[in-house]
Each structure stands twice: as C-alpha cells, then as structure tokens.
C-alpha cells in the first residue's frame, strides 16, 4: 500500500484453517488460523521453540498438519502446484557445483542465460564460474537467493536467511531482498528472530508464542524504512517488550 510494488498475478494466497501440528505428544502449533494475502511480505517472529519454524516447514510441505487445512489460492496445498522456493539459514549450496550450476539446479533445457541474468540481479555475475567454497557468507546467500529467484516463485520462504551474516552484510541483503520483492511481487514469508529486520521488511508481523499466534500487526510505514523514524523505533521496542515481558498486545499500535 502506497508503495510502487508490482502486482503479481502468480503470487499465492495462503490460508491456514484451524491448523494444528504435534510431534508425538508434543503439540507445537495449536489451532492456528491465518490468511496471508497475495504478494504480502509477512514476518514470523518468536523465541526458539515457539513453533515459528514449524509453521514455515508446514507451508513448505516439509511437514504435514496433524489437524486443520492448508490452502494455496483456495485449493488444498497437496493438490496445488504452487511454485515455492526457500532460502535457508545456511546457504545449502552444493559444494561440487560451480556457482552458476547451483543456480540452475533442477532446471532443464537452456537455463544458462536466465541464470546469468538472475546472478546479475544479485550482483554476482562475475563469480559464476567459482566454487561456492571460495565465496563469503553474504555472497553464498546471494547465490542461494538467485537459485530461489530463477524459478520465478509465487512464494518465497526465508528461514532466518540472514542470521548468520555480519551486521553490514545483513543490511545489504535486507535491501536487496526488499528491492527484488518489490520488483517481482511474490508472496514472502520470513522467519526471523531479529525484530528490527521484521519491521524493516514486512507488511505484517506475526508473533508466535507457545504454538499460538500471540500478536498479528500490520506495518504500513513507507519503504525504504529508516530507523531514524521515531515510530519504527518505538514499534521495535514495543514488540521486544511483548516478547520478553509479555506486555499486553493492546498496547501495540499500528504504524
């Protein structure tokens, strides 16, 4: 809203209806209902063990709901051929493939030209014939991002992709991810424990606590967002207070 974002017809809408997930006796997610709109950038935050990663893995079809429903564009997820890709905390590049072959993983036909274009968009075209092991942490994540983008995803999942990077590289990557998302307009689902990162990138922040959605707020500040703006800094403080001390969610204002 208010941004120059591209409308992407391919972008996916996600609905979770009364979704629960347990591993054995341990209930990880309890009766969660959630609708993520087409093209929305949603950040899921929460402490370790809160169930936020499980939520992402459910959407990624790496786990299956114990009860409830998961819909993509109003079609049950198992029947949907949604085009999803994922970025992990560790880049998960194949060390035995050159950078460009990592980007083209799983593609058939003439993909090289496209791979070069995507690598160029993450600023690593000149590294296309390097082994991944020669790259820095930030560069590896750029390659992982390029590998996710070449599939023209309708949903991009980001599983703490920046938490292993140094502060400067992280800022750079946040800008890059925001820029690419604004250009392509896919639905984005980011799991992070960095509240500031969530506020900087997301349209909407969902706090998961003990398997429940504890807070669900929208962030409508114009992009690119700067923390010199008082209200963003305030929001960060409030969210952190909520996570750490359990302050009442009513105190959280929309920004």
């Amino acid at each position: 809203m208010g941004s120059n974002r591209v409308k992407n017809e391919q972008a996916i809408q996600i609905d979770i209806k009364s979704g629960s997930k347990s591993f054995g006796d341990k209930q990880v997610l309890q009766n969660i209902s959630l609708t993520i709109e087409r093209g929305q950038f949603v950040a899921i935050i929460g402490k370790s063990g809160s169930g936020k990663s499980t939520l992402l893995r459910l959407v990624a079809d790496l786990e299956t709901l114990t009860a409830g429903e998961l819909l993509f564009n109003n079609v049950p997820s198992k029947e949907s051929d949604a085009n999803m890709t994922m970025m992990y905390q560790d880049s998960r590049l194949l060390p035995w493939k050159k950078v460009i072959d990592n980007v083209g993983l799983g593609l058939d036909g003439q993909w090289q030209g496209k791979a070069e274009k995507v690598l160029d968009s993450v600023g690593l075209l000149s590294f296309k014939d390097e082994w991944p092991s020669t790259l820095s942490g930030g560069q590896k994540q750029r390659v992982a991002l390029a590998r996710a983008l070449i599939h023209e995803p309708s949903l991009l999942m980001l599983d703490e992709p920046l938490s292993a990077l140094d502060a400067f590289t992280r800022l750079e990557m946040q800008n890059l991810i925001e820029e690419i998302w604004e250009g392509l307009g896919f639905t984005a689902l980011l799991v992070t424990h960095d509240v500031r990162e969530a506020i900087r990138l997301a349209d909407r922040i969902i706090l998961i606590e003990d398997g429940h959605i504890a807070v669900d707020i929208r962030v409508q500040a114009p992009r690119p967002r700067h923390f010199s703006e008082h209200n963003l800094a305030l929001l960060e403080e409030q969210v952190l207070d909520r996570i750490m001390f359990g302050e009442k969610p009513e105190k959280l204002k929309k920004v």
Binding site: D90, G106, S133, T134
Partner: protein
C-alpha cells in the same frame, strides 16, 4: 624455487639411503651373495628378464588378474553400498549377511577356493573380488548415509527426485568416501594377489617368486617384491589422480572447513 625442488626430493632421501647401505653391505659379502644379492645384481637379473620379454608376460598376467578382480569386486561393492545406503529395506535384508562374510579373513578361504574352483584363473580372481568388495561396500554405504540431510531437503524443495537427486546430490556427496574405499581396496587387491599367486600357476609375479625360490634365485625373489611395490605405488598414483580430477571442488572446500 630451490626450496620446492628440495621438497620434491625429500620423499626419496630415505629410499636412496637404504639402497646405498644395501649395496655397501652386500658388497662386503658378510652373507653369501646368493642369499643376499646386491641391488645391482637384482637390477641386472631384472634387465635380463625384461630383455627376454619374460617379465612383461608375468607382470601382464598379474595386472590383468588385479584389474579384472578389482572391477568385478568394486562394482559389486559399489552397487551393494548404494542399494543399502538408499534403501532401509535393502539394508535390513543384506547388511548383516555382508558383515558376517566381511569378517571372515578372505585369505582363509584359499583352501576352499582351490577345492571348489581349482587352481586356474577363476580362483585367483575370485579371491581378489572378495578382498576388494568389502572396503568399497563399507565406504560407499557410509558415504551415502552421511550426505548432509540439509542438502537433500534443499534438493527436494527444488523438485529433485529419484535419479536426479542421486546424480546431483547423493552420489557427489558420497564420492570422497568412495574414493577412500577405492584406495584402501587397491592395497587389499595387491595383498590378495600375492597370496593367490602362490596357488600353482605358470604366469604372474607370484609364480616368478615361487619359481625362483625353488632354484634359490634370491635376486629374482627380491625383484618380484620390488615389482609388487612399484605396481602398488602406480595404482595409488592413478587413484589419486582420478580422485583429484573428480573432487576438484573438495580441495578448496576442505581448505575452508
């Protein structure tokens, strides 16, 4: 520049010193030359055998036994390792049996092999097959099972299935371990061959040594041993060359780890 030259020379210092001491001791004739020939006389008899073409026949016979046995045993070990690495059903069905057979020293089967297969080529090749199968099986299996599960999950996320998943992720991930198995198996291969060639035969380096023993030709016995050593080193160099080519990525990967 000078330093690298010296470094290259370093591995050969001890062998050369041994040769010199050997020559000196032999020429002092403390022991009779027929029991303790000098390196020069070993070299001379080697030259005679080369000139007559006899040496080539024997080396060729041994080499072809080694290669055929290695190929058959290697392929069986590799196939079993892949199968049991990928499928738990196959693992439960086969692994216990394989481990039981693996724990029999295969050379202990020599008498039985002679009784069953006779004394011709098949007996010798069978022993080599049995010897090289297990190191390759164990390392292939281990390699497949220890591929980073994160990479496999990533591959599935990117729609890699079946053969593609195997070719792009599982096999390359297992390759370093498989090469360890191959190099170990090469050692077992020569060891087995030396023993197997004591089965009566008319060709091969083992024959050369056994025959020389009958006639007290100590120089030829020593020559046979040296040829085994050289062939063993050659096989290792070839394996290392193949490994370096196939695992180009691994060098830089390991450096970083």
């Amino acid at each position: 520049m000078k330093k690298t030259w010296f470094k290259r020379f370093q591995p050969w210092i001890i062998p050369i010193i041994i040769l010199i001491v050997w020559q000196v001791v032999a020429s002092l004739e403390i022991v009779t030359p027929s029991l303790f020939p000098s390196p020069i006389s070993v070299l001379m008899s080697g030259w005679t055998l080369i000139a007559s073409g006899e040496l080539f026949t024997h080396v060729w016979a041994s080499l072809s036994r080694a290669v055929i046995g290695m190929l058959i045993g290697g392929l069986i070990g590799f196939a079993l390792g892949i199968m049991n690495g990928l499928s738990n059903t196959s693992y439960r069905l086969l692994d216990t049996t394989i481990q039981m057979i693996r724990n029999i020293p295969h050379l202990a089967l020599l008498p039985l092999v002679i009784v069953w297969l006779g004394i011709d080529e098949s007996a010798k090749i069978f022993l080599v097959v049995l010897g090289v199968l297990f190191p390759i099986y164990v390392n292939t299996f281990h390699g497949i099972r220890t591929v980073d599960p994160g990479l496999v999950e990533m591959g599935k996320m990117y729609k890699l299935k079946g053969w593609k998943l195997f070719k792009e992720i599982l096999l390359p991930g297992a390759l370093p371990s498989i090469f360890v198995g191959v190099r170990y198996a090469l050692g077992v291969m020569w060891l087995t061959l030396i023993v197997a060639e004591t089965i009566p035969t008319e060709q091969g380096i083992g024959y050369l040594a056994t025959n020389a023993r009958e006639f007290m030709q100590t120089d030829i016995i020593i020559l046979s041993i040296i040829i085994y050593a050289l062939l063993g080193k050659l096989a290792d160099v070839i394996a290392l060359f193949g490994e370096n080519r196939a695992l180009k990525w691994n060098a830089s990967y390991n450096k970083q780890q």
